[in-house]
Structure formats: structure tokens, C-alpha cells
Amino acid sequence: MKDRYVYVLAFLLAAAGLSLFLYKWQVLGFPATDDQETPVWTVEAALHFKPGPGSIKVNLLIPTLTPGFRVLNENPVSRDYGFSLNYGTSGREAQWAIRRADGLQTLYYRTSVYEDRNADQSDTTPPFPPPPVINEPFKTAVEVLVADVREQSADTASFTTELLHRMNDPSPDPNVELLLSDVSNRTAFVESATMMLAAARIPARMVHGFPLTGRQRNAVPVTWLEVHDGDQWRYFNPGTGAEELPAHFFVWWRGNERLVTVDGGSNVEVDFSVQQNHIDAIAIAKTHASQEDMRIFDFSLFNLPIQTQAVYSVLLMIPVGALIMVIMRNFVGIDAFGTFMPVLIALAFRETKLLWGMALFTLLVALGLSIRFLLEKFRLLLVPRLSAVLIVVVLLMLLISLMSHKLGLDTGLSVALFPMVIVAMTIERMSIMWEERGPADAIRAGFGSLILATLAYLGMGLNWLEHLIITFPELLLVVLALVVLAGRYTGYRLLELTRFKALASQ
């Protein structure tokens, strides 16, 4: 009786999910696979600030000339603000204004661009820069340096390269050392390079932009050096002096001006996020839907802010991990710590990649376990002991990061996102099982956790599946139906067949 309701429920869920999926796929033309066509990137700047009591004016520098890219569309999200586009000294500016505002304010500026190698949107030839006004002793240092560099270069490009070489020299000559003495970051470094180039009467400026790759939350603008050789603008890597641009480099703003100024507000923060998506195909689908006045698009994931989309691209895969847990536990019968702990470990693997993640997990648990056994000798109470294990795990992670950095392994740094609470809990449960049921059971369950986490990672990392579920979240209803059905599975588990083999041989 109960079974029938379960089957009906599962059928309804699956039917609803699949029909919506088929409709969106076949009728509206949503792409069911990852396309190979020209990628479209959406870059979004999210501006947060705390408003003051009076009127507020916000200025954000936005892309003006974008060599290598064409803008598909751009739109500011301004809510109650008055919005205008102005041309300032360093390019276009988006300006929002409002009489008064309460609470934390967030403004968005979003632009979609696609790559076009022929889009040559270089700037006009600039005038020769006036010699910069510098005080002693810097003035002499600059003069000596410029004379030196000029000696060893033939034209603007080689001058720039030579200058950057000297500035990057690990043991710089005294002049460079003096000039770079209060340079603390890359932007300031590039800024002083432009100043030295100006002293040599070479037009140069900073460019700030993003190497566009896949999906990035909190993208950090990269500063590059742009030099005019009298003919055209050329790009130099300030870190090496090489004349190059990062792949898919999208220029957001140029010059020394601050990216954002807020009059009448404080605590200003700008978060950039980048998303590569299929807006091309989806835009067509969208047009189709709007022509027929269908409201489906109002509920599409693609209407959310990009940062939220990036979060959901992870969240939406968790049900897939849960389904894998159901299969491995109720159909196969693998032992592991915690119901969803393997899924959480798998999420951590996304940051570290599989092999390194597995090595790290094993290492942390093994080290933590030995320290946990040491703590056992001190007879600590439960909660303080758990906290002690947690703190030790954090310290171990720090140590591993530092060591792998020393060894030049970049992956060690992504360790920071490894969920240490989960590792600490695993250590605690494993140590209790170790004492109560013996090392064999504890290691078996630990190994089981690792296997389940690996399977969950592989399942959740399938690109086609991820694309399918993000484009068609209704497929999760099908996953739900499968899980509900699995909940009524009363047959044997695979491992029970070996466990009870003594009974089968009768």
C-alpha cells in the first residue's frame, strides 16, 4: 500500500522533471551539451558600500576601449539611483547618484563580451608626456637610471624591457633600490615604471584587466604596462619585461585613477566575477521565450547575479553526490564516517584536485590521529579535546601550505579551503572507532570514506552533468525521485552477499 504511494510520488517527480527538461531542450532550444562555439564572458563588478547620512555619488571606471574583445551588451543595475555615463580623463565612467540611502548598498555593472581578434580598439596617439616633477634624491636616481637604460637599448620596446629587467632584478643597483624603496604592491610598481618612462619622455600607462577563464568568483584585476612607441600601444609584462599579454586579457580601465570613488559613503568594496557561459544559445532561447510570452526565463539560474550563479553551480551538484552516497551505502554497503561527510570531503577535493586532495586528507587524518592519541594521555574532556584536535589540524594545514610553498607546489595553497572541521571530526570518530573496534575497522571505515569521497568527486565533477544540471535544474526532481525509490529498496546490499555467504552455501 505504502509502496504504491512511493512509486506514484517518484513517478510524478520524475515526470515533472523530465517533461520540463524536454520542453526547455526541444521547444525552447536550451543547449543540452557544452558548446564549442565562441565563448561569451560576462564580467560583473559588484560595488558594496555603507552610505553616509547625505547624498551619495558613486563613480566607477568601466571598460572603454577593449582590444581583442567586442561588447555584446552592458547594463548597470541601479535600482533607485540616477544613472549616467560620462567620459572622464581615463575613459568612461559609470555614475550613480541618490539623495539618501539606508543600509548596505550594492550596485552592479555587468558587461558581456566576446573575443574578436580583429577588434583593434587601440587608443589614439598620445602627446609626449611632460617630464615628471620629482624631488631629490629621486630625481638624480631617475636621471642616472634613464641614461643607463638608454645606453643599453635601441628603441622604445627594448628600453621598456631593459628598464623592467632592472626593476625586477633580485639584487638591484642602488638607484633602482632607492626608487622602489616604498613600492609595496604590483600596482605601485607599475606606477613607478610609468613615472620612469615619462622621465624618458615615453608615453606609458597602467592597464587593469582580467585574464578571462571559465568561472571566477572574486576575480582580482591584473595590472599590466602599456607603452606607446610612437606608432601603436604595446603591452609589457611588468613582472618579466616581456612584451606579451595574458591569454584572453580583457582591459577594464587604464591609468592611475582609482577604480571607484564614492562621495558620501564609506567601506567601499568592489568584487569582480567572471563567468563563461552559453549566453549565445540561451539568448536565442530567451528571445524565443519572450516572443511567446513565457515566464520560464524569469526563473532561470542565468538571471541571478554571477557570484550567486557560481555558488549554485557547486550547490546543485550536491544532490548528485547524495545520490552516489545512497547507491554506495544502501546498494553496495560501504562503511564510512558520517552520512554526508564524504560529499563534503569531495567538495574540498574540487579545490585541491583529486590526487593531491586524497594525499592531503590521508596525511592530515594520519597526523591528526597520532596527535589525538597523544592528547588521550592528558585525559581532556570531550569538547576541549575536539577543539584541540581542530586547532592542531589548522596548524598542520598551515605547515603543509608553508612547506609545499617552499617546495614550489602551488597546490599546497589551495589547502586553505580544505574543511578542517570535517577533518577534525573524522579524526575524532576514527580514533574512537580505533579504540573501541580495533584498528582494522577504523582503517576500513576511513578507507571507505576516502573511496566514497573519490566517487562523489568524480560524479560531481562530470562536466556534461554539471552543465546539464545548471541549465536544467529541474533534473534534480529526477534525482529526488531516484532517491525516494532507493528509500524503498529492501533487497540485499552487495557486500551482504559475501557477509552471509555461509548461509548461501547450504
Partner: protein, 316 residues
């Protein structure tokens, strides 16, 4: 693979999934769990129903009470410390005596000497919830250490052997004797390495045993033959097990009974999620018996009638 599954189905083997969804979820309402999960409450209910249980010396519910331990056990040389809400035998410490020279060092069932501090640390861990099913703060129970009947002397390595009976809707369905081994550290739980021996329900005689999922004929540590031991007062044991149904209201219940040399069978603890290895020990699936009970199920039968049915119907 499917052939094995079919064979297991044919002998009526109950698997974990089916046990959980068809028996535990259907017959054991969640709100009744505290009656078996909290051993202090179980003891109270059993005493109210006039059933024999090991005497309770004291309960320690708070960290600040841990220092009462010494006074609780002052008059006793042997005792057992167990978490009130523990599962699977975890966290149980069996003290069988004290050191002759120092009264505050205790001898465990394994022969190891521990100090009073060691036991107090264990109690404080227990009270903190290390062994409780939910991880919530728990209580530590200190009770009479069973002086077990010499009948199982030959086939036990230290510790306390006990009789586990599965009671289905009030009818005893299957039983086994659980014999501690060196590996199980005196504990009678099969997953910790104890040996389980099936029991002929008709006579109370043991059948061959199971050790780590394998059938064995003699005890791994003592080498004595496991089969053919007659459990004393078998009919009374079955009747006591049947009465636990009225006590708890749970339709799928594991009853653990120890046989004390002086006090006879005592109810040690009850279990709302009894394990499945009992089927290997008895070399038969429990479903055949469960279906038989469903056929003749009589809601008005008394515990003694139900025990009598099991005695008659499930003789091997």
C-alpha cells in the same frame, strides 16, 4: 551474484535495508526508543514489571558527580561501568576486582590493572557523550558485575557471555549465545570479535558458532567445542524475553540476558536495532520464522503462551 542473492532469499535471510525499512521503521516507533536506549530507564521499567536485572549501584549524570565514583563503588569489589545510552557495547568497562595492595587500583576483566583516575576519566568521557548514540551528554551507569554461570566457562575468554534473543511482535524468534574472546576484550558483541552460537529454540542447546562471519565449531581461544551446551532455565528465559515486548512496545527487539550463578537469568539490556549476524550463527534466515509468527499472530496471547509457541514451533 544474482544466484547468491536468490539462494539467500530462499533461506529467508533478512538484509540490513529490509530490516531497517520493513521491521525497525514499521514496528519500532521512534518515541519508544528511549525505553531501550536509556539503560537507566530500561532498568526502572523492568523492575516495575518485576523482572530480574543486575542491581544498580549508582548513576553519574554530571561532570561534577564524577568524584562520587569512589564512594559508589566503596562496598563493591567488582562492578560494571557503562554509558546509559551507549550502543554496540562501546564504552563498557568491566571491573572484576581490586589490587590486593592498593584499593584504588582496579583489575579489568582482561586482567589489566587500571587506576581510579583512569576509570574516572572514562566516566567523564562517557558523561560528555563520547559513547552515546547521538553524541549528546550522557550518564554513566555503575552496576552489579554478573558472576556468570560456569556453564559457559569452557567457551568464554574472560568477560560475560550472554544470550541474545530476537523478539518479533512479542514472540521469541531466534536466539544465540554470545561468547567473549581474547579479541573482543571480554565484550560479547559480535562485531568486536566475540563468537556467536546459534541456539535450538526447542531445547536451549547451543549449535555451532560464528566468528567474524565465518562458521566455527570450537572457541578460538579455549578450543572447547561450542555446540551442545544446554542453557539452564531456558523456558523461563524465553518467557522473560517475551515480556520485554509489553515492557517496551517495540515489535522488533533484541533482548540480552545473562545467567548469573546466584541470581539466575537477568535482563542485561534491550536493543531496538539488533544485528543480523544471529542468522549466520543459527545457519538460517530469520524471515522464515518471522513469517510463521505473522501467520499465527494473536494480539491477546500472554507472554507465556508466546514463549510456549516459540519453544514448540522453532525447535530445530
Amino acid at each position: 551474484m544474482f544466484a547468491t542473492a536468490r539462494k539467500l532469499r530462499a533461506v529467508g535471510l533478512l538484509g540490513l535495508n529490509e530490516r531497517n525499512s520493513e521491521y525497525i521503521m514499521r514496528l519500532n516507533p521512534r518515541h519508544l526508543y528511549p525505553r531501550v536506549d536509556d539503560k537507566v530507564l530500561t532498568k526502572k521499567l523492568a523492575l516495575e514489571a518485576n523482572m530480574a536485572v543486575p542491581d544498580m549501584y549508582g548513576v553519574i549524570r554530571h561532570q561534577s558527580d564524577v568524584r562520587r565514583f569512589a564512594s559508589i563503588v566503596a562496598d563493591h569489589d567488582s562492578f560494571v561501568v557503562k554509558p546509559a545510552q551507549g550502543s554496540g557495547g562501546d564504552g563498557i568497562v568491566v571491573v572484576t576486582g581490586r589490587s590486593k595492595r592498593k584499593r584504588d587500583s582496579f583489575r579489568l576483566a582482561s586482567g589489566r590493572l587500571v587506576t581510579q583516575e583512569d576509570i574516572e576519566h572514562h566516566i567523564s568521557n562517557t558523561v560528555g557523550g563520547q559513547y552515546s548514540l547521538s553524541g549528546n551528554p550522557d550518564a554513566a551507569l555503575i552496576e552489579y558485575c554478573v558472576n556468570f554461570d560456569p556453564i559457559f566457562e569452557e567457551v568464554s575468554f574472560q568477560g560475560v557471555p550472554d544470550v541474545r534473543i530476537i523478539v518479533y511482535r512479542g514472540y521469541p524468534a531466534m536466539a544465540m549465545v554470545r561468547l567473549p574472546t581474547r579479541a573482543s576484550d571480554g565484550k560479547a558483541n559480535l562485531h568486536q570479535g566475540a563468537v556467536g552460537a546459534g541456539v535450538n529454540m526447542g531445547s536451549g542447546a547451543t549449535l555451532s558458532g560464528v566468528h567474524h562471519h565465518n562458521v566455527v565449531d570450537d572457541h578460538p581461544d579455549t578450543g572447547a567445542l561450542i555446540a551442545g551446551i544446554i542453557i539452564p532455565q531456558w523456558e523461563f528465559i524465553l518467557q522473560s524475553a517475551s515480556r520485554c515486548y509489553e515492557l517496551t512496545g517495540l515489535g522488533y527487539l533484541g533482548v540480552d540476558i545473562v545467567i548469573d550463578r546466584d541470581k539466575g537469568p537477568l535482563i542485561l539490556e534491550l536493543n531496538a536495532r539488533p544485528g543480523l549476524n544471529i542468522q549466520i550463527a543459527n545457519r538460517i534466515g530469520i524471515l522464515t520464522r518471522v513469517h510463521r509468527i505473522d501467520e499465527i499472530y494473536d494480539p491477546n496471547a500472554t507472554p507465556d503462551e508466546r514463549a510456549a509457541f516459540a519453544l514448540r514451533a522453532f525447535a530445530v
